[in-house]
């Protein structure tokens, strides 16, 4: 109980998510800091559901209840966006796979409980892109592009159409054709992602369980600078706990990771989630602890009780790394040069 004085911010948040039973013992003065860190990490809705029903100070309960209501609203808005996208694309009869938060709530997965959801992310086959683009534009979405260079950047070098936003609803949709930039080093098997996808009742699809975990790991480690990493890692924890009950899950996970060339990011994700959230993971697949794991943990927990990002050098190192992962060095240099010139 006295430990909450030493542990604070993101570290305390991670501990409470993993072990909610500790919450009633938390010193009253620590709550403002926990809530600030949770908001900054986009985890307040998740935390609110983990702590639901526990005896906590009245104010904390009220704030967490508001967070649950907010998450319910976000869920409704996300499902509606998915439905409007479905209506716009229904006539094409092509597979449309929901990704990330929207997929979790559409499929009723525990990873969706209390989750903050931003844009709608969908995955389609590369050769369906032109038809999908046309259908969305015809149904009220429009480009959010700044200029032709960014447009080119997105189409050729990233793994998605340039961002689209709906004219009246003001919500964004990101249309992907693979889960990592084609210019990045691991090259996932995009066709296999769609082929193995599972249909929902309304005709939209979600990735198969193993691919969902692998996508989350790729998103966490191979595509980003770990901003929002605690939340992405929590997704992985929840997905694993839900799916590992199925016999043969770990073997399938290994096979799919190999096919998508994402064994190393998956392994690291497993080690990190075990460390932070005590997720029971397959020891062989996770592999032995590596020295860099500590650095990742340090980055993931770089948030204080005021909601500020801390550990600046570590964060900067990861930011630079994330761009390096997305683009080979020559391309990166050119991209940064043009960005600088435009000012």
């Amino acid at each position: 109980m006295g430990e909450s004085g030493r542990v604070s911010g993101a570290a305390l948040l991670a501990r409470l998510l993993a072990d909610p039973a500790q919450a009633p013992g938390i010193d009253r003065r620590a709550w403002t800091g926990i809530l600030a860190a949770a908001r900054a990490e986009q985890l307040i809705g998740t935390l609110a559901w983990r702590l639901e029903g526990l005896p906590l100070p009245d104010r904390a309960c009220a704030i967490l209840r508001d967070a649950r209501d907010g998450a319910a609203q976000a869920r409704q808005a996300a499902l509606w966006e998915a439905e409007m996208a479905r209506r716009a694309l229904a006539g094409l009869a092509v597979p449309v796979v929901l990704l990330k938060g929207t997929a979790f709530v559409a499929a009723g997965l525990s990873a969706g409980v209390g989750r903050a959801i931003g844009d709608l992310d969908i995955l389609v086959r590369r050769h369906d892109l032109p038809a999908v683009e046309a259908a969305l534009l015809g149904a009220g979405w429009e480009w959010v592009k700044e200029d032709d260079y960014d447009d080119l950047y997105y189409r050729r070098w990233m793994h998605e159409l340039p961002p689209l936003i709906h004219r009246t609803r003001d919500r964004m949709i990101d249309v992907h054709h693979t889960i990592l930039p084609p210019t990045a080093r691991p090259t996932p098997d995009a066709a296999a992602l769609v082929d193995a996808s599972i249909p929902l009742e309304n005709g939209l699809r979600i990735l198969c369980p193993e691919d969902m975990v692998i996508h989350a790991a790729a998103h966490l480690l191979a595509d980003g600078d770990l901003a929002g990493g605690l939340r992405n890692l929590w997704d992985i924890d929840r997905l694993l706990r839900e799916f590992m009950a199925e016999p043969g899950f770990w073997a399938r996970l290994e096979e799919r990771a190999g096919r998508h060339q994402l064994r190393a990011p998956l392994a690291r994700a497993l080690r990190l989630t075990e460390r932070l959230y005590a997720t029971p993971v397959d020891a062989d697949l996770a592999g032995p602890a590596r020295p860099a794991d500590a650095l990742y943990v340090r980055r993931l927990l770089a948030r204080d009780g005021w909601g500020r990002g801390t550990r600046r050098a570590t964060r900067l190192a990861f930011y630079v790394r994330s761009h390096w992962l997305r683009m080979p060095p020559a391309m990166l240099a050119r991209h940064l040069w043009i960005k600088l010139r435009k000012g």
Partner: protein, 93 residues
């Protein structure tokens, strides 16, 4: 020659408040609020009986409202249905 078939959510999916001849409408599935003027609310009510195309909707409307004997009415209804579709209040059946 039948036009496209439309459907609407059941009336329980909407909350309506009348104010000076306009309808303030809350659509539960989308969480969106709309301000509708006639004949939009009447079209939604007409679809409560089941999916229909513009011509069928005109027939349903005639049963409850005094409509002019006007060939152009179907086109007006079709145009309103288009708008309601964009707003998410009706969809293709």
């Amino acid at each position: 020659m039948t036009g496209p078939l439309y459907r609407a959510d059941p009336p329980t999916m909407r909350l309506a408040v009348e104010a000076e001849g306009l309808t303030l409408l809350y659509h539960r599935p989308s969480g969106m609020t709309h301000v509708l003027g006639p004949p939009a609310p009447e079209l939604l009510t007409a679809l409560a009986e089941g999916p229909a195309d513009a011509a069928e909707i005109v027939r349903r409307l005639r049963q409850h409202h005094d409509l002019q004997d006007d060939a152009g009415i179907e086109a007006v209804v079709a145009a309103r249905l288009d708008e309601l579709e964009a707003a998410g209040l009706v969809s293709r059946a």
